[in-house]
Symmetry: C2
Subunit: 456 residues, 2 copies
Amino acid sequence: MALDTAPAVKELRQILGAKVHTGVPARTARAHDRSHHVWSLPDAVVSCASTEDVSRALAVCFRHGVPVVPIGAGTGLEGGANSSTGNVCIDLSPMTEILHLGVQDLDATVQAGVMKSALNAAAAPHGLCFPAGPGVDASVGGMASTRASGTNAVAYGTMRGNVLGLTVVLADGTVVTTGGLARKSSAGYDLTALFVGSEGTLGIITEVSVRLYGIPETTATAVVPFPTLGAAVSSVSAAIAAGVPLSRIELLDDVMVGAMNSYSGLSLKEAPTLLVEFEGGPAAVSENVSRFEAIASSRGALSYEFAADPLRRDALWQARHDALPAAAALRPGASTWSTDVCVPISRLADCIEETQADIAASDVLAPIAGHVGDGNFHLAFVLDPAVPAVLEVAQAVNERLVRRAVAMGGTCTGEHGVGIGKTSALRLEHGEGVRVMETIKAALDPKNLMNPGKVL
Amino acid sequence: MALDTAPAVKELRQILGAKVHTGVPARTARAHDRSHHVWSLPDAVVSCASTEDVSRALAVCFRHGVPVVPIGAGTGLEGGANSSTGNVCIDLSPMTEILHLGVQDLDATVQAGVMKSALNAAAAPHGLCFPAGPGVDASVGGMASTRASGTNAVAYGTMRGNVLGLTVVLADGTVVTTGGLARKSSAGYDLTALFVGSEGTLGIITEVSVRLYGIPETTATAVVPFPTLGAAVSSVSAAIAAGVPLSRIELLDDVMVGAMNSYSGLSLKEAPTLLVEFEGGPAAVSENVSRFEAIASSRGALSYEFAADPLRRDALWQARHDALPAAAALRPGASTWSTDVCVPISRLADCIEETQADIAASDVLAPIAGHVGDGNFHLAFVLDPAVPAVLEVAQAVNERLVRRAVAMGGTCTGEHGVGIGKTSALRLEHGEGVRVMETIKAALDPKNLMNPGKVL
């Protein structure tokens, strides 16, 4: 029995005017993320341009008991931004202002809807960059909400470490600022870390302060195919233990290399392959390239392409970032579903190899790519429309994958978040901890209006 | 009107036997940290050897409504572990077991009472180290509880980034595990980060999983005096912006250099001085030393001593770690009080210079040392027993220092925590955020038994 949201929508319109949309096209455009999870149309979309807009909208919804679902760029992969009938969608994509760029302090404060690419474009003229985050362009607020990371988390950390402070609107419209621009603080509970990764279920992040970094003087990429996946993974853990600084370490299985060759016009050897990036001063890069090459060679690396040319480097990384469309292109009309577990490095080769065996036994196509420097990897399930049962098979493989990863001391999601796709996996992983999360949720959102049904 | 704790202590003794101490020497030994803040004797001390001991003790105290105050090594500086009449002290110092050492994964799980030195001694034979934390030896649980850091946070981060997971006992004795051994996770609320830095007010940390690091191949230290404090600080921010990797960057003012010369038998020039450490492969270290020297020279560095000899390096860093006793030795019979603010680097020189002017105007002796790579610095007030009003003067200078730092966008504590010394400073800094903290505290500790009066 859905709540009648008409009185709330009427009041929203009185306060926020043309920012409130109830037409089907507007509601459809902001109803869901990029996942295959269920969604339905929100009753209204509020296009917010400021923290104040969000605060006013939430105060109205709170009084009327109407649930709210925030959305940014809509690039999520677990349904965290998916709407349902009876909720109001809080659209943060109009919040595109860069509020502060701290050239000396290496920090920036942006509105939640600022895209990663826009922040980098603003930082680049100052020799600075914002490296954290996924290959796909995403909003900084969305990345903070899901605790996102990406290919270079091994060097720069995830959003957990890169967010210095937040502005958050709570369920009743109260605005809270957390953290600050100091590089570290022991002042009270870490509310910043609590809201980062809470996927809009405790409050809506409207402004984010992040760390920036100097653009490295020198960057070099190596492409290293191996006879086995185990040899590739053990090269990575040996390099990390030896303290060789690597800024990205991507693993591609042979199927993924083949998909990338076809899609991106490469001619890489179709073997388990590491794509490794080195950064720093020229002498440091050269030294670290040599150290890594020695480690890889001793583990049977089949070849060692060292790409210093920026065009070649960009082509390789663009191909890596296009891994999902490359996988989809393996079957006509197919889409993909990207899974996301993370295990301790010592279990990574086992976890991937057992998963490959499961994929083979299940007769599903699912090339693998992973950020192996931190034990995180993804299957790109190819959802072939010619195979009706493929989604069910993929769901079963994914459920076994999650159980395998958790049993190995890992996590059900390294960077995509829980959304609606991993709520039972969260319970499997955290047990009693989920009750603590529920206690916090009930305390901060007593009416359960903030992105209900997500995470918990 | 103090609660009669006798029935609770009697029940504790029934369950935990000889682990429960009520003699005055045992209660005195565990009643306070190293700060100058008030304390009184707890009614009993429970020497806990395991998470189960803590859980059983807390369940009893919860039923009887008796407050509990945890203590580890007792090296805190803001009274966070100080007891009061009517509370039971939970002594974690017997929890000294290293439960897991992950040589391949570069991680360790330890009981809360394990000292940083003990963890490093266990890790060293495997070529690993645990660099995070203060110069003074401290327990890993205590470091997690206060979100501690120290001289090398600029390279390795604080406890915020170095704790992978926790075992925590909640107010009613429930045991919760948070995080895990995966290097990153987007699985639900970041309970690990919530408990880190909560100083025992939400639960008692009994086990801690931390990151380890490879011991660097090469380490070198530079001692660089400058004509002005501003020149020293601007060299640091220029080096960071240029991406020169520095593993430690300590600033000492001229008064502190003088104190260290006297106490540690050094003969450094008494000028604002940077103590800088470089780590990595030999070529990288040599390159970075040159890059930093060029930056420092262009800002008028007075000299540049490069200490590659391990004995000289150790002597310099030991002198730095002995800064507090060195300051105390400036006046016969004096003790010290170490303050702790952190500001954005762009404001650091201003903040220190305004503070030096205040120190001079207030006629108090307070040499300065700071972890300038992250904008954190400390005054070491010399509490001279020959000057009766010195503590009041120091308190006034510290209050102005905190207001100055917060007004500059900084924090009232970079690494020491809030304890009982900074509760009003926390409100000054976080405003509405403190209400969110109070909501969380009330939800997780409804009887207000967990280290009451601390932080909030």
